[in-house]
């Protein structure tokens, strides 16, 4: 049997895409559609669940199953979906406001449970759909409509947050690097359990060029650190390297250290502390910033474990018997022949408390 072949068009809907012209979301949508087309799996296997915000309109444009839900709640809804149906591939589309502000709780709990969800967080460091307020990833001092004197909120680093929640797969990519995005999507898809991908996404209307240090022709060569499993972490055409000193990751001139001292990236390291140290190299897309897979480890997926328990219970106790269930607390029988219309029953030793 040959695998069915799909094109990007198979994953497009007839709905007009309504993001601002030039928005990074278009590129991410294209990357996801192209990735799925290349995968060769039927459309009905995929469900895209989103919350509220610009990014959360995403499911309307995907010709798969989808749900545009409530602000922040997509990971919770997707958890129910994935737990009920481990046969599906469930994706969560969220943003920095949706996933880290109003929905922060659901995000960290989905990650710690390791539910089989692929969570793509579009981080544009701004509230777009409500027209330009600072977000939980906006830099301190950001001047916006709701912070005319500059924001005093300290921002989250989404990758650090995910690692802190002990997510088993954590990656970061860039909207305009389609190849890199598709590579991350593919690795996330292959991962069993929660996969978290932060996508730096440009909002050209309210926060243009926020990622210029990673995307600008002149800047990116100096700042983009590509993490590759099993390889020493070097960047800026080999002139810079990352080393571990006292548990902290540091950028040094390659020439100043013994090549053996350069940190070799190991995404499968069970302990998340080195991945966390890498995530601290920058607190946002300012200066040298790692992209790629920070962590990719195995841990039992929640939905698989839940369903294994159901199967184990069935094996041990047999399929449920309703008649037995409602009699499990002891019964007695009233029959007309018995004195005073009643016979004593027997206790099965059940309890009603």
């Amino acid at each position: 049997m040959t695998a069915p072949s799909y094109t990007r068009a198979d994953f497009q809907t007839d709905q007009e895409v309504r993001w601002c012209p030039g928005c990074g979301d278009y590129t991410i949508l294209a990357s996801v559609q192209m990735f799925l087309a290349g995968l060769g799996r039927p459309r009905e296997e995929f469900v895209f669940v989103s919350g509220i915000g610009c990014s959360s309109r995403f499911p309307y444009y995907m010709n798969t199953y989808g749900m545009h839900s409530i602000h922040g709640r997509a990971p919770a809804i997707a958890t129910g979906l994935a737990t009920a149906r481990p046969d599906l591939s469930v994706w969560v589309i969220t943003g920095d406001g949706d996933g880290l502000s109003i929905g922060g709780n659901h995000l960290i709990h989905a990650l710690r449970r390791n539910v089989n969800l692929k969570i793509i967080l579009f981080n544009n460091q701004i509230y777009g759909l409500t027209k330009g307020q600072y977000s939980p990833t906006s830099e301190v001092g950001k001047s916006t409509k709701s912070s005319p004197f500059g924001s005093v909120d300290f921002p989250f680093n989404p990758v650090s947050l995910a690692l802190g929640a002990e997510a088993t797969f954590v990656a970061r990519t860039l909207d305009m690097d389609r190849n890199h995005t598709q590579e991350m999507l593919e690795k996330a898809y292959e991962h069993e359990g929660s996969a978290f991908i932060e996508v730096y996404q440009n909002c050209n209307v309210f926060n243009d060029k926020a990622f210029i240090q990673l995307t600008g022709k002149d800047e990116r060569v100096h700042n983009r650190i590509d993490l590759e499993h099993g390889k020493p972490i070097v960047f800026d055409e080999g002139s810079k390297a990352v080393v571990l000193r006292g548990g902290e990751a540091e950028v040094v001139d390659s020439s100043s250290v013994d090549p053996k001292a350069i940190l070799v990236h190991d995404e499968s390291r069970p302990d998340p502390s080195v991945a966390f140290a890498l995530s601290r190299l920058s607190h946002g897309p300012y200066g040298p910033t790692p992209l790629g897979i920070f962590r990719n480890v195995k841990r039992d997926a929640y939905d698989i474990s839940v369903n294994a328990q159901v199967e184990a219970a069935r094996e041990k106790l047999g399929p449920g018997d309703l008649n037995k269930l409602i009699r499990s607390h002891g019964t007695w029988t009233v029959s007309p022949s018995s004195p005073n219309g009643s016979t004593k029953g027997s206790s099965n030793g059940g309890s009603s408390d």
């Binding site: 469900v47 809804i77 659901h106 449920g320």
Partner: protein, 623 residues
């Protein structure tokens, strides 16, 4: 061994026969009164009495020992006929300490029996309870039959060979009290012995101590001939069949399992622990072999969110909470109404607002259930009337949710949840299946799938679950175009969709059984109730009729939509009385819907109506 326990009374104490009896066990929350009460209840149930229970416990797990807030009690009424409530006033009170006496003595029937643990009546405990003098030594208990028992001492003596030590010694005290009560009221001892042996099979010393204390309590009665007579309540002449004793939370959990079997859908229960709903989660989580998946979420919103996800996935989806948690779920319930997916939302009501009275019953979430959501989102609301009725009501809720593709709110309350009664077991095989027809084929032109194309009878949209080839579609909280389900901001369409959703739910009235009237159809007064006031209202009506007066009663199980004949029923009576454990919520609905000048009887005291409170009001209205 079970047969070592004395089960006959060789003493010469005569027996008095009673037709009904109300007992209350009261003690510190660590004294095991809920356990003693439920064991007494189960023994009575197996003996064949009709019964009803009313547990009452503090919200704190262990309030400071010996204090009034720490008092926990369990009341049960047993009878040789069919009864409807746990009784207004106990005939016999067990008081394990001064605080229990202080808090419960006023309820004891004049001349009733009082059993006290004299060992707990020391200066410190008396002071904690607010007694200035020892009531056992002054005249405050005059006119009551008082049985003074040094329970601590006798329990210690009884368990000393069993191997329990330290704090565990006095833990068996409740079994001593239970043994004495078994003697005094001729309860069968075997069910209790068997229960102890099974419950503590892994702790043989504890099992031995509890049995020894139980035996000692029983023997104390025999040996001291503690009262001038004992009492017996014969089995009730209940309807023929097999019975079990069940509380509302358990019956509800079983009903959900039954609904999942009848619909042939896996049951998904997404919830967050909250009193008094948590026991439903506890019960369901034990029955995974029925295909039940329970999800203990990170919060209330995730509980309902996960259920919505499971509903989309094609499961029978359920979430549950109590008032404060339902408030958190409100936005998600509206989403589910908009998505038109089936889901059951259970609200086990308690005293509010806010944290309120977490362990006490109230019916103050009715208007919240009917109207407490943003936008126009009228969802079906059902209410359970008695503990055992929870089983069938859960099935009914599932049937409506699936047939009409809508969230359904199912109201219970703390009295139903924790109260128990004998349940005549239904023939579960005879319960009609719940029809589920997942969409499998395109329903539009050119093989397109139209997720908001409606069923001509029910106006329900198709349920197309992910994984079905060719039916890929998107649903969401934005207003949808009728039929296609595409996002639409068109004014005419929003009007149409709002009206359609409301009409779909209103139309369920045609699928709701007509309201039946109980009692004197030619009476001047009709008492209308909903929820857990059922027993008190029916018992009050009985009492009124015994006095030779006429009264009719009727009880709503469907609060939205209301039964089609409700208006006609109400208009057939000159006077309408609506007793509610709130400040008049159904009353407002009835006045608003039918322009009828009904009268409310309202109570928010954290306890059910006493029968006499309703009787007095009826008599006042018809005098």
């Amino acid at each position: 061994m079970a047969d070592e326990i004395a089960t006959t009374d060789p003493s010469t104490t005569p027996t008095e026969e009673l037709d009904q009896l109300v007992i209350r066990f009261a003690g510190d929350s660590g004294d095991g009164m809920q356990l003693a009460g439920s064991r007494f209840t189960d023994a009575s149930a197996l003996f064949g009495n009709d019964l009803a229970t009313l547990p009452s416990f503090p919200a704190e797990i262990r309030a400071p020992a010996g204090t009034l807030p720490g008092v926990s009690s369990f009341q049960v009424q047993i009878a040789d006929f069919d009864i409807l409530t746990a009784g207004d006033a106990p005939d016999c009170l067990v008081a394990m300490n001064p605080a229990a006496l202080m808090k419960n003595f006023a309820d004891l029937r004049q001349g009733g029996t009082l059993i006290v643990n004299t060992d707990a009546f020391d200066e410190r405990n008396l002071a904690k309870a607010g007694y200035e003098t020892n009531p056992l030594e002054d005249e405050s208990l005059q006119g009551y039959r008082v049985i003074k028992v040094p329970m601590d001492e006798l329990t210690k003596e009884a368990v000393k060979e069993t191997g329990v030590t330290g704090r565990n010694v006095l833990r068996s005290k409740n079994f001593f009290a239970l043994g004495l009560m078994a003697w005094l009221f001729h309860r069968p001892t075997q069910p209790t012995i068997e229960w102890v042996e099974k419950k503590f099979s892994k702790l043989p010393e504890v099992a031995a101590a509890n049995k020894a204390a139980f035996q000692a309590g029983y023997t104390f009665g025999v040996a001291t001939e503690a009262t001038k007579n004992t009492f017996e309540v014969k089995p009730a002449a209940l309807e023929e069949g097999t019975y079990t004793n069940v509380n509302g939370n358990t019956a509800l959990a079983w009903g959900l399992i039954a609904a999942s079997q009848k619909a042939n859908l896996p049951l998904f229960y997404g919830t967050y622990p909250i009193t008094p709903a948590s026991d439903i989660l506890h019960e369901l989580s034990r029955h995974k072999n029925f295909g039940v998946r329970t999800f203990q979420a990170e919060d209330e919103i995730a509980g309902v969110g996960s259920a919505i996800g499971a509903a989309f996935a094609g499961n029978l989806a359920v979430t549950a909470s109590s008032g404060p948690g339902i408030a958190l779920k409100s936005e998600s319930i509206s989403l589910c109404f908009m998505l038109e997916l089936p889901m059951i939302v259970i609200n086990v009501q308690r005293g509010g607002p806010s944290t309120g009275l977490p362990t006490k019953p109230e019916q103050s979430d009715l208007l919240f259930s009917l109207y407490g959501r943003h936008g126009e989102s009228p969802i079906p609301v059902l209410a359970i009337a008695t503990p055992s009725e929870a089983f069938m009501t859960a099935i009914e809720a599932a049937r409506i949710a699936i047939r009409y593709m809508t969230p359904v709110l199912l109201l219970s309350d703390n009295q139903i949840a924790n109260g128990s009664e004998p349940w005549l077991l239904p023939d579960v095989d005879a319960i009609a299946p719940i029809e589920v027809s997942f969409a499998t084929k395109a329903n539009g032109p050119d093989g397109t799938f139209l997720p908001y194309m409606r069923n001509i009878d029910t106006f329900a949209r198709p349920w197309a679950v992910p994984g079905t080839p060719g039916l890929e579609h998107r649903i969401g909280g934005l207003e949808k175009e009728s039929v296609s389900g595409n996002v639409s901001y068109d004014p005419v369409n929003h009007q149409l969709m709002t009206d359609t959703r409301a009409w779909k739910v209103a139309n369920i009235a045609n699928d709701v059984p007509h309201l039946e009237v109980d009692g004197d159809e030619d009476a001047d007064i009709l008492v209308l109730g909903w929820g857990s006031t059922f027993g008190s209202i029916r018992a009050a009506a009985r009492k009124v009729r015994l006095d030779g007066r006429k009264v009719a009663t009727t009880h709503l199980r469907h609060l939205n939509p209301l039964p089609n004949n409700l208006g006609d029923v109400l208009r057939s009576y000159e006077k309408i009385l609506i007793p509610e454990m709130n400040t008049g919520q159904l009353l407002k609905v009835i006045r608003a819907e039918f322009l009828i000048d009904a009268v409310g009887l309202n109570k928010v005291a954290g306890e059910p109506f006493k029968v006499t409170e309703i009787t007095d009001k009826i008599m006042e209205m018809i005098k």
